[in-house]
């Protein structure tokens, strides 16, 4: 067991760096045993480190004894090992590994952390595309099992790719906003009352009283605007800011490998978008739906099936997977939405869609305490409950607008996946509270 007893004079090389350039060098690698297979006097092992794997070989000879070969063959899958080996080039490419041009000839192998022999799921099964499993009667792993054993499921190449991409998405958002002069803020997640007049879903005990988990940091972002921070964003469980189109181009360029890895298990069409971004007005959207045979009222909200159908119609007409739908009917938006100055039935609010699913809901907010009070009364909201909210606009408030984006939804839709739990590291839903 490694208890940091001593500082080893070992330089660990990353598997992804094992290329013909290192040929004939003696190096150390720490990786997992992906597979091991004994064949007579030899044992073939595939060592895996995140998305990369390399073939390694223990052969009986002057460097390895028969017992060592047997030892290597019996190391359980997923165990972490330290291996001292010589890098050798190979004549024929090793198709099944990421490092195709080299293999390791092992001189010493140590088990650093042993895995229990019975794994709750096999990584090859977890990575297998759905259809393939049925045809050749080979197992795939269903989502619940994957989520129950998330630690192992996250080791698959697909999961690694998804979450590295997601991290990249988050970083790109941050970079883009910071470059535009935004200030990143941290907002409280425990609040005293509903800021939007909506229901409080999660109550927590708070000293001698109760409090609620914030559903959205919107109130605080708005307060920061009133406090002269001009442009703010916060990243956390709920909101962000609108995605500029340059984000899509950057993601495509920097994360090609990740996108391809995910597509191996979950094939999908590449994400398409227009520059400048397509902006449709709500009335146009309704007209397109009606032309397709959908019956709906002018001021009716879009149901999820209609949103998806509209996404399809927009894709067919404009060839884009991303668009903005602007000027929603006032009646279906929250009370703090600024009405449209030219038509009282509509509002300065918008939704953004990727592949026909909503990723952002936003609007110009009402920054006038008087108008805000009127709108709240119109929606029959108890003014007492939102007193602090309205108060923030009493002492000079700049006109402002904003929105919140789901990071996990964006990752899911960008990659063309179908379940947000795939892009949520440790998802929570009404039935799931662990891991």
């Amino acid at each position: 067991m490694v208890q940091s007893q001593q500082k080893l004079d070992r330089v660990l090389v990353r598997v992804e760096e094992l290329t013909p350039e290192k040929a004939d060098q003696l190096i150390w690698v720490r990786a997992r045993i992906h597979t091991s297979r004994a064949k007579g006097k030899q044992c073939f092992v595939v060592l895996r480190q995140q998305q990369f794997n390399v073939q390694a070989l223990v052969a009986v000879g002057d460097r390895a004894s028969k017992q060592m070969v047997k030892f290597a063959a019996n190391i359980t899958k997923e165990s972490i090992v330290d291996v001292e080996a010589v890098v050798r080039t190979v004549e024929q490419k090793i198709e099944s590994c990421s490092q195709q041009d080299v293999e390791l000839h092992i001189e010493r192998i140590f088990v650093i952390s042993q895995a229990e022999p019975r794994l709750p799921l096999q990584l090859e099964d977890a990575v297998r595309p759905e259809g393939e499993g049925d045809e050749e009667a080979r197992a795939t792993v269903n989502q619940d099992t994957k989520l129950d054993n998330r630690v192992i499921d996250l080791r698959t190449t697909t999961s690694q790719a998804i979450f590295r991409l997601q991290s990249g998405v988050c970083q790109l958002f941050r970079d883009t906003l910071i470059k535009k002069g935004f200030v990143e803020i941290q907002t409280p997640k425990i609040i005293s009352a509903a800021s939007e007049g909506g229901a409080n879903v999660f109550t927590v005990s708070y000293f001698k009283t109760s409090a609620y988990l914030a559903q959205s940091p919107q109130l605080y972002k708005q307060m920061c605007i009133c406090a002269d921070f001009d442009k703010v964003f916060c990243v956390g469980p709920a909101e962000g800011w609108k995605a500029p189109h340059c984000f899509y181009a950057d993601t495509q360029n920097s994360f090609q490998t990740e996108i391809q890895t995910v597509n191996k298990q979950y094939p999908s069409e590449p994400f398409k978008f227009l520059e400048p971004t397509l902006r449709l007005e709500y009335t146009e959207g309704v007209a397109m739906l009606r032309a397709a045979g959908v019956e709906m009222g002018d001021e009716e909200d879009l149901s999820t099936p209609n949103e998806k159908l509209l996404g399809r119609l927009v894709k067919e007409k404009y060839d884009t997977d991303f668009y903005v739908l602007d000027k929603y009917p006032l009646a279906v938006r929250p009370f703090y939405t600024m009405p449209d100055p030219s038509n009282p039935k509509y509002s300065n609010s918008y939704d953004m869609f990727m592949r026909g699913e909503e990723i952002l809901s936003g609007a110009q907010r009402v920054h006038d305490a008087q108008l805000l009070t009127e709108r709240a009364l119109h929606h029959s909201i108890d003014l007492e409950k939102i007193k602090a909210y309205i108060d923030s606009f009493r002492y000079g408030a700049p006109p402002h607008a904003g929105g919140g984006i789901g990071l996990e939804r964006v990752t899911m839709l960008y990659l063309g996946l179908h379940n947000v739990r795939q892009t949520s590291m440790f998802p929570r839903d009404p039935k799931r509270l662990t891991p």
């Binding site: 397709a292 045979g293 159908l309």
Partner: protein
Amino acid sequence: MALRELSSLEKFLGLKKPHKYSTQGVKKVPLLQSNNGPALVGLATIASHLAKEAKKPELLGTTPEQRAVVQQWLEFRVTRIDECPREEIRTVLKDLNQYLEDKVYLAGNSLSIADPLLYYAIHHIVVDLAVQEKERYMNLTRWFDHIQHYPGVRHHLAPVVVLRNRVYTSCHH
């Protein structure tokens, strides 16, 4: 329901004077009392009679083979579609879609009485299909759109919107 159809059919056939129909039995099978002979019972029978009366016997088929196919479809419509239970609708649509893959009309190369009668029968199913389902049953939708726009056929039924271009191009939905 069947009576409205017969009235539409009469208009389509160009019959000036509408007949008076009555119904028979629990299932409300249409009945046409004729002056010189026994009553005609049943949608298929009455429809065939009307076609002859309108002096358009070609609508029943020009060759013996076509005539047989027309009758087969009239029977199909009455037995399989009119009382179709919900679980079977998908199968029926799939079968029709497959049949219509290489045909413009149900029987032969020209419109027969089978086409409007089947159109009347499945209208209530097709009108409720989502865009995606209509695309799945491509051939059926194509035939349906053709017949519903045929002069004189549609009458009392609501037009079903059929998009010109496919919107569900990939298999992923």
